[in-house]
């Protein structure tokens, strides 16, 4: 079976990601359907008995997978913004890279 680590760690990680993911400032992340659903699911499966073992493992795997999704999307978006999000340089900037300035064309003044 997959090496998942501690469920508590997964839960904490998930709640942390949800806090980062909250798009609208001022809206408490605890108020979101995702937060409520995850907390309720973890509470419901807290009873440790042999009968529930498989369900617990399924839930933990889903939670760990979702955590991976949220975390990877956040990291990917950050990398995208940093390296690929700035668009093209203007002609002036490109000229400036090699120490040139673009010539002033005669119709452009005034």
């Amino acid at each position: 079976m997959a090496a998942l680590g501690s469920p508590l760690r997964t839960l904490r990680g998930l709640l942390r990601e949800l806090r980062h993911a909250g798009g609208r400032a001022g809206r408490p992340y605890r108020d979101t359907p995702a937060y409520r659903h995850i907390v309720a699911a973890f509470r419901a499966h807290r009873v440790t008995s042999k009968k529930l073992c498989r369900a617990q493992q399924e839930l933990h795997f889903q939670a760990a997978t979702y955590l991976c999704l949220l975390r990877s999307v956040r990291e990917h978006t950050a990398l995208h913004q940093e390296y690929h999000g700035k668009g093209e340089r203007s002609p002036e900037e490109v000229a400036g890279l090699v120490g040139f300035r673009l010539p002033q064309q005669p119709g452009e003044k005034g």
Partner: protein
């Protein structure tokens, strides 16, 4: 076919401004729906966006609610998977989907071995042999591995076993599984994920074993390696979660039958 803006007809624009305040979920006749303010979300082909699982609807709603000033569609993997399941733009039926998936077995990443460099061949043996052994035990099939450029010789009975196993999943879950297979380039690693034998991080690592080997030798380039790694993890995590959430009701039924 070319859509407005010069893009492919089925692909939405990469980004647009967030145009809604609130995201909520409601339950309709066909399943769970997503509301952006008072508007119901639709698919690219203008069908009503409905999903069979509440947990999936919540996760999709979270994707929409996480968008800040602009909607970054390329980060909304669950939404995209739902749109694909609802619109089926490639118009494939279940049999075609399964055949396409099982075809990957012939050149499955974990079966396709190098002979040199020796260090990489050794790494492949140590990391991939156990997963193949697991799959052979779990499904009672012969798979093996090969250094031939043509790929390994997979017995017909092995393919049949996987075909009938995949047929036990519903169409939605299958879309998720097939997506994971195309991303990882491996049927075996995907089954490892679906059967919860390995985590997404591990599956992605095993899929990218050669890249990781080269990175350890030559160093990592953040804007390429890490970028690709995060994107692959996100997609594979989304596909796996999607497949599990869409086959959830069958898991529940199975448990009830067992009791």
């Amino acid at each position: 076919p070319v859509g407005p803006g010069g893009g492919r007809a089925y692909a939405p624009p990469a980004e647009r401004k967030r145009f809604y305040q609130n995201v909520s979920i409601s339950q309709g006749e066909g399943g769970f729906e997503i509301n952006l303010d008072h508007r119901k979300l639709k698919t690219p082909q203008a069908k009503l966006f409905t999903v069979p699982s509440e947990a999936l609807a919540i996760a999709v709603a979270t994707e929409w609610d996480s968008q800040k000033d602009t909607i970054k569609f390329y980060t909304m993997h669950l939404t995209t998977l739902c749109n694909t399941a609802l619109d089926n733009p490639t118009q494939r039926n279940k049999t075609q989907l399964i055949c396409g998936a099982v075809k990957f077995l012939e050149t499955d990443t974990v079966c396709y071995r190098v002979e040199e460099p020796a260090a990489l061949a050794e790494l492949q043996k140590n990391e991939w042999d156990p997963v193949i052994a697991w799959a052979e035990r779990r499904y009672n099939v012969a798979i093996g591995s090969s250094t031939s450029i043509l790929g390994s010789n997979i017995p017909a009975s092995t393919k049949e076993t996987f075909v009938s196993h995949l047929a036990s999943y519903n169409m939605w879950a299958l879309q998720g599984i097939e997506f994971v297979i195309t991303q990882l380039k491996s049927l075996i690693l995907s089954m490892g994920l679906i059967d919860r034998h390995i985590t997404v991080e591990k599956a992605v690592l095993l899929s990218r074993l050669e890249e990781e080997y080269q990175i350890q030798r030559w160093g990592s380039v953040e804007w390429a390696h890490d970028y690709d790694l995060c994107e692959l993890r996100a997609r594979v995590a989304a596909g796996t979660l999607f497949a599990h959430l869409c086959s959830e009701s069958s898991t529940v039924k199975h448990k009830l039958l067992q009791d």
